[in-house]
């Protein structure tokens, strides 16, 4: 190869270096995504070649059947939990960015939940939430709040909040580390100048820190909200959607529709709807931030 001119080499290297990664991406991401769109207009049962076209029938079903689109209501606690998680994460990032003894130890500790195996975390919380032998009810009893004892995963009104709480427990440290990284890259002379101008701590937080974090806040909010749309692992492991479907999520329903009820056409339509909603959040955020930038 060394004998070839560099422009010729470049062509060969590009073809050779990009072919396999792009082929994998096409085969296992874009082809399935395109096929999802195609299947979403059919009644494919996942088995043979027999399928007929339904037009927008599956989409109509997704939006009009409250058992399908309605389960997004179960995911509101995850979205609210996620927003609180971002606020608390910024707070802790600001705290850990200041001069403080033991701040590295706290940083390491608060990040630990993110590292833990997700299924192990789920079962850890099954023990926390267990009605009879669980540690949360035992703790409430021990500190005299026995009246608050609950069947945390068995009460339809509470189960999604309990699961959203687990999610906040698990991802708070991760979100915090991202904010902390962004804070550490801010120039310190900016604060020095603000201090000389007589700004107090809260004024610099509000007028300097938060605005300079806006891109990272946008990114984290996207991760939070798209994550809330695509909640899966926790209810899948802990409640299987129960009690009586109260903790079903849209993605859980999608996999059930495909793999239990063999209705791949409808499941594909649900997948496409989920993807479109994710894109919608991205576009809405970009539009909002774009407008702010022009002001």
């Amino acid at each position: 190869m060394g004998g070839l001119s560099y422009p010729a080499q470049k062509k060969i290297v590009l073809a050779f270096f990009l072919f396999v990664p792009l082929a994998l991406l096409g085969m296992f991401t874009y082809y399935p995504a395109a096929r999802l769109v195609y299947l979403s207009f059919t009644d494919w049962d996942g088995l043979g070649s027999g399928m007929s076209f339904l037009g927008f029938g599956n989409y109509k079903e997704v939006f009009t059947n409250p058992d399908l689109f309605g389960v997004f209501l179960h995911q509101i606690p995850y979205a609210i939990g996620g927003i609180l998680q971002n606020i608390v994460a910024i707070l802790f990032a600001v705290v850990l960015n200041s001069t403080l003894r033991g701040r590295n130890a706290f940083r390491v500790l608060l990040f630990i939940p993110y590292i833990m195996n997700g299924v192990a975390v789920a079962f850890m919380f099954q023990y926390v939430f267990d009605t009879t032998g669980g540690s949360l009810n035992a703790l409430l009893g021990a500190i005299g709040l026995g009246s608050l004892q609950q069947s945390w995963l068995g009460n339809a009104a509470i189960v999604n909040w309990a699961l959203a709480g687990v999610s906040v427990w698990r991802y708070l440290g991760y979100t915090m580390i991202i904010y902390l990284g962004a804070l550490q890259s801010l120039p310190s002379d900016m604060y020095e100048a603000a201090r000389i101008d007589g700004a107090n701590r809260f004024q610099s937080l509000w007028h300097l820190t938060l605005p300079s974090l806006s891109r990272i806040i946008q990114l984290n909010m996207f991760l939070t909200l798209s994550g809330a749309l695509a909640v899966f692992d926790l209810p899948f492991v802990l409640t299987k959607g129960g009690p009586a479907g109260a903790s079903e999520t849209f993605l859980l329903k999608t996999t059930e529709t495909a793999f239990q009820f063999n209705n791949y056409g409808l499941a594909s339509a649900m997948s496409v709807v989920l993807l479109l909603l994710t894109v919608l959040i991205l576009l809405a955020q970009n539009a909002a931030l774009g407008r702010k930038g022009r002001d």
Binding site: L22, F111, N117, A120
Partner: protein, 279 residues
Amino acid sequence: MTAVTSKKKDPIQAVKYLLLIAASLVVLFPPYVVVVNAFKRENENSSPFALPESFFNFDNFRIVYERADIGHAFLNTLIIVAASLLGNIVFGTMVSYALGRLDFKGKGIVLALFLFASIIPTITTQVVLFSMIQSLGLFNSLYAPIVLFVGADVLQIYIYLQFIRNIPYELDESAMIDGASLFRIYRSIVFPLLAPATVTLVILKTINIYNELYIPYLYMPKQKLVVVSTAIMRFAGNNQAQWGYICATILIIMIPTVVLYLFLQKYIFAGVTSGAVKG
């Protein structure tokens, strides 16, 4: 700046510690319960917070290791992680070299393809992939998760690209004057200099694959093909409320990544932050 404003006995400083200690207790509460109960015998009917009679009672661990098939789980997980990482490193560095060092038409499109792929929820595409994996003959084999994990993803590409931009281009140029081929420049100059990024990615990817649940659950129902996530799921499903056993399983499965993290936190934090600051 806080150092200047908080010379002595700053009340805000106390509030900060209070917040941090409260958060630490919330973080530590569930793992504490798991640790103490993993060492309790079945007949030790104490409260979930009480310490076990002995921290040298490894009965639960012994029993669980056999019954939950932990040996197979670790072995299978290790094979999947190793094979996937090999592909990740090779493909990730190749794509990043092409994007970071060579000018070509459609560069933006390639990057956009990887970026957009990252926002597609992976579980949704399984609806279609499931029949593909079956017709490729990969169902119930370790190849199924490997082909799905082996490709380069946008996080890797961004981290590698940041590193490549910091490698002076003069190195490439002087190698070219010596007549080195582009492939040789990639292999002997760029690839070795990307080692710190590779370490970061190896750790992050290992943790991600170790924690992955749905893909092994869906494609490898066979008992012999159990991985850590599915091992604990099956075992806990069959041993409802046997907390001593379940806690021992949780502990066995959690310890490897937590230990990895405590020793290599520098790389993990570097990866998490640089992955996020991409925008």
